[in-house]
Amino acid sequence: MSILVWTYLIVGFTFALYIGIAFFSRVRSTSGFYVAGQGVSPVANGMATGADWMSAASFISMAGLISFMGYTGAIYLIGWTGGYVLLALLLAPYLRKYGKYTVPEFVGERYYSQTARLVAVFCAIFISFTYVAGQMRGVGVVFSRFLEVDVNTGVIGGMALVFLYATLGGMRGITYTQVAQYIVLIVAYLIPAAAISWKMTGNPIPQFGFGSRISDGPHAGMYLLQAIDAIHRDLGLPEYTAAFVSGKKAMIDVIAITMALMVGTAGLPHVLIRFYTVPSARAARWSAMWALVFIGLLYTTAPAVATFARVNMIQTLHGARYAEAPPWFKNWEKTGLIRFADRDGDGIITYSGDAARNELEVDRDIMVLANPEIARLPAWVVALVAAGGLAAALSTAAGLLLVISSSISHDVVKSMLRPGMSERQELGVARWTAGAAVLVAGYFGIHPPGFVAQVVAFAFGLAAASFFPILVLGVFSARTTKQGAIAGMLSGILFTAAYIIYFRFFDRGAGADDWLLGISPEGIGSVGMLLNFAVTGVVSWLTPPPPPHVQALVEEIRLPHRPEAA
């Protein structure tokens, strides 16, 4: 059977599965819609968090990015996993103990202020829309390459599916489809990785194959990482495993970006909200551990895939005759994601670190998707990867859409505009806003704003500079006041936004010398976070302490919930 037939079969099967789950987990209460009735087991929530968190970027783009960055790819690996330690230790158990439905709701109540809640709503919606546009685009790319339909048709198909299970099942539907999507995406990631690892090194476990010797070809007997360093030297590129050599990011920037990604992860509302769905604070701690176990499975595989893909790609293409290039090369060339320009007219593909001699441009995004074809794995594996990419994109999109919907229906409509609304009416509003959010997200998927890639840094920077500090201080310092929190959030956001907008849109040619302390816009969220902490602390100290009922709330969320001890 051809790749196309396999893809229709496997993608069709997984979609049917998601729809089935959505149908069986319909909800009739706001608690079910917003937090899945708080009855999700820690392991299931761990898987759901894994799928929720690992987006099209993690599944499709990350290994490709690492394969072009070498050591520096650690910013994603450490940054996007280290954040879970912060979540588990500093936030998840306390937010669960608080036990209401949204992150802005916690902010509003802890800081006894509708203004603070509104600022939080704005941040939550902005962060989520930024993110979701990228997911819809990922869905479109997978559809167009593997199902050979128009990108727009792909986006509409994905939208229809998310629409169905988000409006029917709310958080409950999303949770159990995410569990299924985690399983699909991890299987789709591990099977080709193991097959490639086994082919190249004789060891089927990628985490070990990555440190093993190459079994055949021109570099047989060499350690894989030694071979790739040697290949890079020959091509005039910086060594793959080298850390802070010229041509790679400076140490200060690596530190800042890693910190911004970690803290940003811990401040993303769609991740935080997952921990509201488990039964207790204790379950929230265990759930964070399971989440990182499930995420770690993909994240420790990704750098191995990156290395295999890098070696494979260079060995297959560098020095090959263009006329005899393998079929996957021609397929991807059609999408414009691989480009070959025969500068010296010899009909041979030359890959080089020297821009004047290099003839091959490879988009980072295709490394994972093309990898099974490059390694000549069977057609069903290629199809499985397509289903995995869709699972990753759809699960994240659904989680984000729920944040948007609950922020509007619960934090704005119910809390500010129509407080007298019944639960049934609120549920209706929640379904409508979820549906509307899907449409807006789909619009951005079909007409992507040119700046999607640039604003991803924005989402993390903003989450790091807005939510993280005031959530942590809200739990760990009862003295933090509403004036402090509002001033802190605003200064963190404004500083981070101004820095990113300036360097992304106005002074695009600027380099490390122009940056503050050599910190790139991707890493500036960590400075924004420190600023937020400092401003919140100083202003809180200067303003009168929070009222007694708020201090009592802080005392209460610090202690785990034990119904029998009450």
Partner: protein, 85 residues
């Protein structure tokens, strides 16, 4: 049902102690082993891995998982001590 009241302040101090220690290890893992010391550690090799590179792309993640495991385990014990089963 009556129980002896839980000493919230002591519970919180016990939590902060374990939390602080684990965060120090977290900080050292992420920024020490993975970034600041990477070039020093790269002089050593384990199988085909330069050690610093291994920590940056593999080891740190395993350590993070262990840190959360230890925290969840330890807090279960503290919960038990203060609240009983």
């Amino acid at each position: 049902m009556t129980r002896k009241p839980v000493d919230g302040a002591r519970y919180w101090r016990a939590n902060l102690r374990i939390l602080g220690n684990l965060l120090l290890i977290w900080l050292f893992t992420a920024f020490g082993l993975g970034i600041l010391l990477v070039e020093v550690l790269n002089r050593f090799h384990v199988a085909g891995f330069p050690l610093g590179f291994w920590f940056a792309q593999q080891g740190a993640i395993y350590i993070f998982i262990v840190l959360i495991f230890v925290y969840a385990r330890w807090m279960d014990r503290i919960d038990k001590r203060f609240y009983g089963d």
